[in-house]
């Protein structure tokens, strides 16, 4: 263990992987809280898939694999996908989940088409683009981590600055509008921040598993508190812990992929929270119920009369 701690601080690769995963966990956890509260968890899933064509197109247009370029492409196409989903729900008779499914799969299909096109074009530089499917934390270098940190701070800064407004937007947008807040603009800002959170995670956990990095930490945090501020902090903490733990396990054990390991760690946190969180946890709930039944039985039948 001390060796591992030493490595985390001084080993270049390990440090980048751990830092990157922690960053992704914090940003995903914090922004995911809003996504989950607004019942937009699966929008994150659709958005992550919709980012794929953007990544490949950005590479095709610039020939660069710099993470800022690819992340920008991912963000633009993720945004476009989100916009289309909103329009489909507003302008057609389809329900939200059908809209999500259609955009998710069609954009992903386009991404696959572009990816195979690049792969078949004998461009030697393209190798590694497909790591965005499952993510490959081990390939994180300092440049990636710096980009992630820069983008992540923008998103976190927005949340800190507009905490009250985002809270209003998540719980009672009509009331917010009646107070004169520009709810539309706030909605755009919050959704953009969620896009940033998704884009940051793509290289580490990949488009397929990214949804869990938004939803799971927030769902776990929700069990421990009823206060938004606490939930945000807990969610970020859970996300970061899962990120670091997953990265550590995958580096120390052989042949364990980082992305899936991070997801398994955060799932474990969710399971523990749902079972054991005080007040809401299933176990406490069962104990409470049993106690009440026993008390009722002890009181005898006159209660019914």
């Amino acid at each position: 263990m001390p060796d591992l701690l030493h490595d985390v601080i001084f080993d270049y690769t390990l440090r980048n992987v751990a830092l990157g995963s922690a960053l992704l966990g914090i940003v995903g956890g914090v922004l995911g809280t809003f996504a989950v509260l607004r019942r937009q968890g699966l929008l994150g899933d659709a958005l992550a898939h919709a980012a794929l064509p953007g990544i490949v197109l950005a590479f095709m247009l610039t020939g660069s694999k710099a993470s800022i370029v690819l992340m920008l492409g991912a963000a633009i196409s993720g945004w476009l996908g989100t916009l289309l989903i909103i329009r489909i729900v507003q302008d057609t008779r389809l329900s939200e989940d059908a809209a999500l499914g259609v955009i998710l799969t069609v954009f992903f299909g386009l991404g696959v088409v572009l990816l195979t096109h690049v792969q078949h074009s004998n461009n030697a530089n393209q190798a590694g683009l497909d790591q965005y499917l499952f993510g490959q934390a081990a390939t994180l270098v300092e440049e990636n981590v710096i980009t992630m940190a820069a983008l992540g701070s923008v998103a976190l800064f927005l949340v800190a600055l507009l905490f009250k407004e985002f809270k209003l937007l998540s719980f009672d947008p009509e009331f917010g509008a009646s107070l004169g807040y520009p709810m539309r603009g706030l909605n755009v800002l919050l959704t953009s921040s969620i896009v940033i959170a998704v884009v940051i995670g793509l290289q580490t956990v990949g488009v397929v598993l990214m949804a869990a990095m938004l939803i799971a930490p927030a769902a776990a945090a929700r069990q421990w508190t009823n206060r938004l501020g606490v939930m945000l902090a807990l969610s970020g903490l859970f996300g970061a812990s899962a990120g670091v733990a997953g990265a550590m396990i995958s580096v120390t054990a052989r042949r364990v992929p980082t992305g899936p390991m991070i997801i398994l760690c955060i799932t474990a946190i969710v399971v523990v929270s749902i079972l054991f969180a005080p007040e809401r946890g299933i176990v406490w709930d069962a104990i409470r119920r049993r106690r009440m039944r026993r008390a009722a039985l002890a009181r005898g039948p006159e209660v019914a009369a």
Binding site: V36, R39, Q40, G41, L42, G44, D45, H49, I88, D91, T92, R93, L94, S95, D97, A98, L100, G101, V102, L104, T105, V106, F107, F108, G109, L110, G111, V112, V113, L114, L115, T116, H117, H120, D130, L133, F134, V208, L209, A211, A212, L214, I215, A216, A218, A219, R222, Q223, R255, V256, P257, G259, P260, M261, I263, L264, T267, V270, I274, I282
Partner: protein
């Protein structure tokens, strides 16, 4: 059968098998559940591979189908705790199962050919080389035979239980009171979806199988209000995606399954824009026309209400809060309909206009009188 034909037919049968069950997924608002099922199939396949000690069609299919139904069960169990909202439940369960699957693959089967690309977007181009061998006899391409079989089974299920599915989908309450267990129908459908997904998985992969399940059915939903028609249109648009997608992919040397999804998306976009009944363009035109009609009616009612012989346009524009241009537009339209006439620069009702206003033969009166309660407030503001 040559290789090209095998791939094309495999694609077509995949589209057919998926469209048949996809229709009910869209109607029951379970599109994202099918996304969850398709991802969860991976650990099922891996565990089956482990149990059968190698690739085995029957064990693999069963394992994956069990995993699919388990996913549905887990999502619903999580929702029932009331601790997690429904969309979050889906978003927690399927990444966990998929991550578990990838974990197993890389940990224990890294030497086995089950790579990322095949899992996510399948290898339909290999369909001709994946042979089904029964008792030593090569009876054809395995994906083709499996998908043709699934198409037949799904078609038989839909035909056999058409009435039950229809009732349970559109009126679950009535279905339950008639003794049709919603639970059985629900899990029956989910089992069919799971098997279909497993069958199509090898050909088109985990995510694009969802494209075949959802996109053609969503397209059909925009084109019709009848269930039987929706199934037919869903099949047609699925087959069109498969055929066009295949040839375009061949021409540009790109992923066939990816191109099938993109083609499906293009067909969907066309339907969303131009469907005669539910399309965005048709809706906009209808809304526009209705607005014009209401404006004319408002003008006629206003003139009738004031009982003056005629009114000046300036006064009208002020009273109705319309711009001058808008008023001119409405007067022109009303004149064309023979409801008002301009005399000496003043607007007056014609006899026909008087009659129309008095006898309530106007769209406004009609809507106000017949609008269902749900639209009450809207009708009221219009009538005011």
């Amino acid at each position: 059968m040559n290789a090209e034909m095998t791939v094309l037919l495999t694609a077509i049968f995949a589209a057919c098998a998926c469209s048949l069950v996809g229709t009910f997924l869209i109607l029951r608002r379970m599109a994202m559940m099918s996304d969850a099922i398709s991802h969860a199939i991976l650990p099922g396949l891996v565990v089956a591979y482990f149990i059968a000690n190698g690739p085995n069609l029957i064990v693999g299919t069963l394992g994956a189908a069990v995993a699919g139904v388990t996913t549905v069960f887990l999502v619903e169990a999580l929702q029932r705790t009331g601790l997690v909202k429904s969309d979050a439940a889906i978003g927690i369960v399927f990444p966990a199962l998929f991550a578990f699957g990838t974990f197993l693959v890389s940990r224990y089967f890294s030497q086995v050919h089950l790579d990322a690309d095949a899992v996510l977007f399948g290898e339909i181009a290999f369909a001709p080389f994946d042979r089904l061998i029964v008792f030593g006899n090569d009876i054809g391409s395995q994906p083709l035979i499996v998908l043709a079989f699934l198409t037949i089974v799904n078609a038989a299920l839909v035909l056999l239980f058409y009435k039950e599915l229809k009732l349970a989908t559109f009126d679950p309450g009535l279905a339950a009171s008639l003794g049709l267990s919603p639970l059985i129908i629900h899990y029956g459908l989910m089992t069919a979806v799971s098997f279909t997904t497993v069958g199509a998985f090898a050909a088109v992969g985990a995510i694009l199988v969802v494209a075949l399940l959802i996109v053609p059915a969503a397209t059909a939903y925009l084109l019709t209000d009848r269930l039987d028609m929706m199934i037919v249109l869903s099949l047609a648009s699925g087959i069109a995606s498969a055929v066009i997608g295949y040839y375009v992919a061949m021409a540009f040397d790109v992923s066939i399954s990816g191109m099938m999804a993109v083609t499906g998306g293009v067909i969907f976009a066309l339907a969303a824009l131009f469907s005669p009944t539910h399309g965005i363009v048709a809706r906009a035109i209808r809304r526009h026309r209705l607005r014009d009609q209401f404006a004319v009616d408002l003008l006629v009612l206003h003139l009738h209400h004031h009982r003056t012989a005629s009114e000046s346009p300036d006064h009208l524009a002020r009273e109705l809060n319309w711009s001058e241009g808008r008023l001119r537009e409405v007067i022109t339209r009303a004149t064309r309909n023979g409801l008002v006439a301009m005399t000496d620069g003043r607007v007056a009702l014609t006899n026909a206009g008087q009659q129309a206003a008095a006898s309530h033969h106007l769209a406004i009166a009609h809507v106000a009188a017949t609008a269902p309660p749900a639209h009450g407030p809207q009708a009221a503001t219009i009538a005011d």
